[in-house]
């Protein structure tokens, strides 16, 4: 462990710097950071240089390794190899207290605040400093006032966190970091929960921080913010740093292209001609809206239709309402406004349709979150293979489950989609993600769906299986099944979908023809940046 204060004090004038020491005008330097989770390379040989007193953006798709990289920097994970240099000195960060000691502060996407504490108490938490709170509280209050004035971070010091608007909660997080003398501030998707006005306010604060010499790292997938506020930007793709750029020399479309990679020679599954105009509709959604329990608008005014024999892809950054859309259409959640007609059955807030009824209607749902919804981890594969069909006549004999039939069916499903190991008695949790997914898909496809709702069909699935899954989906399409495909994999959507709708914050922001879609443009649409003059929208 290097004493950070020494390194700091010695900043410009250090004599005989150690051989491995770096450029001390850099607040952060990463050299060859690699991190694997099992077979997944989350980070591979990452190099990064961030100059002191700048705002640096890191962009990348979901799963590109942004969060892993920042978790390494903040001590949640240990890198398998590589080194971290802070102010030119190598440091070892084993946990968050090392990170704090090194002057790193982090503002997480999901705030780490105690709701029932006041702002002051939250800021002091972990840095109380004295057995009696009152003494340190007055000192903290003074210090908070100074910080708030200096960085234009106005907060109500004595309000409970739960009473504050989200933007102010975030400022509390920033104050927490500054109170601990953070000189490097990492913000993970900071505007995800903010209104545009709050986001603007945040950027004012970030610029103020920068002027005082604080280094800011901004992780986001919103390219417009990168263009607006950063000095330099790095692009992560599939765990690797693909580019370091000066923000003023780049453009949103270039960043989008770098983020998603160049166009791959993906297989094209598109049908030869258009569907006959008289084709019936499998799903028709009219003005669908959902407001969740906390009052947040999750879906807003959605209207679209999926014809029989058509695949409609839903593109979007995760968390923009796609999951809710699947839940509503499959009967798990209720819409607040509007209605939809699915395989001839109308459903709305007043006329709810249960998931079991949906299954009877041959509306099948392959859920996005397979571990939470798709199967029960502690059940055997055989038990999970009848989840949702436990009442089906062929599995029941006067209330008793026909275990032999269930096991035999499971074995057949496993063989059909090459689930390994093909052992129905194994616990569901002990299969790899890809094999769990194949089992769920096999279960749902076996019922010959007329409407198929699929979420992230190939997340965490190996290449060979991806192809198999894609072919199954196409097979269903050719049988006349109406398919709604939600995926964060643009390649997948582009090679499968006849039409693509793009969701952003619960709304449809664009619709493109699957055949004509291009990745750059979709990337921009997903960040809701496509209305910029950079590129014309096709929608």
């Amino acid at each position: 462990m290097v004493d950070i204060n020494d390194a700091d004090a010695g900043g410009g004038t250090s004599v005989n710097p150690p051989a491995q020491s770096g450029d001390d005008s850099l607040a952060i330097e990463l050299r060859g950071i690699s991190k694997r989770f099992g077979a997944v390379r989350a980070n591979q040989n990452i190099d990064l240089k961030v100059a002191r007193g700048t705002i640096h953006g890191i962009v990348g798709e979901n799963g590109a390794g942004k969060s892993t990289l920042m978790s390494i920097l903040y001590g949640f994970y240990q890198a398998d190899s590589g080194e971290v240099l802070i102010n030119g000195k190598p440091v070892a960060i084993h946990d968050s207290s090392d990170a704090i000691a090194a002057g790193i502060g982090m503002v997480h996407q999901h705030f780490m605040l105690v709701d029932t504490f006041s702002v002051l108490e939250n800021v002091m938490l972990g840095a109380e400093g004295n057995a009696l709170l009152s003494h340190s509280a007055s000192a903290a209050r003074k210090e908070l006032q100074r910080l708030a004035d200096e960085y234009q971070l106005s907060v109500h010091v004595d309000s409970l966190v739960s009473d504050l608007p989200v933007g102010e909660q975030q400022r509390t997080e920033i104050l927490k970091a500054l109170y601990r003398h953070a000189e490097i501030l990492i913000l993970d998707e900071p505007t995800g929960v903010l209104t545009p006005q709050e986001a603007d306010q945040l950027f004012v604060v970030l610029n103020a921080l920068k002027e005082r010499g604080v280094t800011v790292i901004l992780i986001t997938h919103k390219l417009r913010e990168i263009m607006d506020v950063t000095d330099t930007v790095s692009v992560l793709r599939m765990g690797e740093m693909v580019s370091h750029l000066n923000t003023r020399d780049t453009s949103m479309s270039e960043l989008a292209e770098l983020m998603v990679g160049r166009k791959l020679e993906s297989r094209n599954y598109h049908r030869d001609g258009p569907l006959p105009p008289a084709t019936g509709e499998g799903i028709e959604v009219v003005n669908l809206g959902v407001i969740d329990k906390s009052g947040k608008q999750r879906l807003k005014n959605l209207s679209f239709e999926v014809k029989r024999g058509e695949i409609v892809g839903v593109a979007g950054v995760a968390g923009n309402g796609q999951s809710m859309l699947l839940e509503v259409l499959s009967g798990i959640s209720l819409p607040t406004t509007g209605h939809f007609v699915i395989n001839g059955q109308k459903a709305s807030a007043d006329e709810p349709v249960s998931p079991s009824r949906m299954r009877e209607l041959k509306v099948q749902h392959v859920p996005e979150d397979r571990l939470k919804l798709g199967l029960v981890k502690s059940f055997t594969a055989a038990e999970s293979s009848v989840l949702g069909y436990q009442r089906a006549r062929r599995f029941n004999l006067r209330g008793l489950l026909k275990l032999k039939t269930i096991r035999a069916t499971c074995r057949r499903l496993m063989e059909g989609l090459d689930v390994r190991p093909a052992d129905p008695n194994l616990k569901s949790a002990s299969f790899s993600g890809g094999n769990q997914q194949k089992l769920i898909l096999a279960r749902e496809l076996e019922r010959e769906p007329e409407v198929l709702l699929v979420g992230q069909p190939t997340r965490g699935v190996d290449i060979g299986a991806i192809e198999l899954i894609h072919e199954k989906i196409i097979e269903m399409r050719d049988k006349g099944c109406a398919i709604l495909l939600v995926s964060v994999e643009l390649d997948e959507i582009m090679s499968l979908a006849d039409r693509i709708i793009v969701m952003y914050e619960g709304q449809i922001v664009a619709e493109v023809n699957g055949r004509d879609a291009n990745k750059t443009q979709l990337g921009l649409m997903m960040a809701n940046a496509h209305q910029e003059p950079v590129q014309d929208s096709v929608a």
Binding site: R357, K372, G374, Q390, G399, L401
Partner: protein, 375 residues
């Protein structure tokens, strides 16, 4: 860095065999220390206890009579537990189950033959127990009132209701003790010594009665219900993952209510053993804490009927052998026996998983590497 061992599965013989045995050994070890401290030879004490529980047929009768109660309450806790509900209200449900039996018999024992009275009594015990569990279940399902709190409170309410009814309403006129008149003999569940007597076996009198057979039938029923029926499947799904349950079209609210009613009925069956089998009248406090001990029984039996039978037997031994111990060795008081029971509950209930990380580590050391499945 230490690994999280709780997610590593163990083979059944370790999980439900070795670990519970280790827990009991730990509890006995600490009990032994206490006995040494008061100057009693622990080995001798264990001998007296075992002899007191199994040494002669009256002892065996008493042991199995206690066991019967623990099977009912243990099963009750286990069924709720599979639905991820913690039913602390077994005591009250058993008590109210007794009220059901009492009311039915007070009304009908003079008019109906045994062949009808016995099934009616059993049904009344189950229905009243279920009804008493239904209220907290409904509150949990529809109003979000926490089942642990409500079931605890319902124990007190049940207790107060019973005191009121027995003192003011159901009491046999012209006597001081708050209990009903004795039921007609046609409603008595045959004692085991009587049943065995029909087959020519001479057994000493004990409170053990045919309820034990019924309890074992309930074990089979619970096993089939939980693992072999679709209702049990839905109950387990809902208990393991509410999200998966909703995905599968299962209504968690219905599951909560069903599971609690089944649980309450099982607890109510304590009255079959106590009222129909032994006391033949309704009286105060016949539940004697069996409902609470059922929690420890279920935890120790890993919520599985076979485990529950074994754990019930252990507690039966503790109750009967413990009483014998207090009788034989004056230094060991009744309170001391309760302390030993407490230690067993502590080690096999609250600290049930204390030794597991070490067992897992030992297991991993000897386990072939290729068997390890990545998370």
């Amino acid at each position: 860095m230490s690994i999280n061992t709780s997610s590593i599965p163990l083979p059944a013989w370790l999980e439900i065999g070795l670990i519970p045995v280790l827990n009991i050994v730990m509890a006995l070890f600490f009990s032994g220390l206490i006995m040494l401290a008061i100057g009693v030879n622990p080995i001798e004490a264990v001998g007296i206890m075992i002899n007191g529980a199994f040494g002669y047929d009256e002892a065996i009768g008493y042991t199995l009579y206690y066991t019967t109660n623990f099977i009912f309450t243990g099963l009750a806790v286990a069924v709720a537990f599979h639905a991820n509900l913690f039913n602390i209200g077994g005591e009250g449900q058993a008590y109210i189950g007794g009220l059901g039996v009492g009311l039915v018999f007070l009304l009908l024992d003079k008019y109906l033959p045994m062949i009808l009275l016995i099934p009616l009594g059993i049904m009344a015990a189950g229905l009243f127990g279920a009804a008493w569990a239904y209220i907290p279940a409904w509150l949990q399902a529809h109003r979000g009132s926490h089942i642990v709190i409500t079931t605890i409170m319902f124990n007190f309410i049940a207790s107060s209701i019973m005191v009121y009814l027995l003192v003011n309403v159901l009491i046999k006129p012209g006597q001081m003790s708050p209990e009903t008149r004795q039921f007609d003999e046609s409603s008595w569940l045959p004692f085991m010594h009587e049943v065995l007597g029909w087959f020519g076996m001479e057994v000493t009198r004990s409170p053990l009665n045919l309820s034990l057979v019924f309890a074992l039938l309930c074990c089979v029923f619970v096993w089939v219900y939980i693992w072999r029926t679709r209702w049990g499947y839905e109950l387990r799904t809902s208990g393991q993952s509410e999200a998966a349950a909703r995905y599968a079209g299962i209504k968690p609210k219905t599951v909560i209510i069903t599971a609690m009613c089944v649980s309450g009925a099982l607890a109510g069956f304590v009255a079959v053993n106590e009222i129909m089998g032994v006391h033949h009248r309704l009286l105060l406090n016949f539940t004697a804490g069996y409902g609470f001990t059922g929690i420890a029984v279920s935890l120790m039996g890993r919520n599985h009927p076979v485990g529950i039978i074994m754990a019930s037997l252990l507690f039966g031994v503790l109750y009967q052998g413990g009483a014998e111990l207090a009788f034989e060795i004056p230094k060991i008081t009744r309170e001391m026996v309760v302390a030993i029971q407490g230690l067993i509950i502590l080690f096999s209930g609250a600290l049930a998983l204390m030794l597991r990380p070490w067992v897992v580590q030992g297991y991993l050391k000897f386990k072939p590497v290729d068997e390890v499945v990545p998370a």
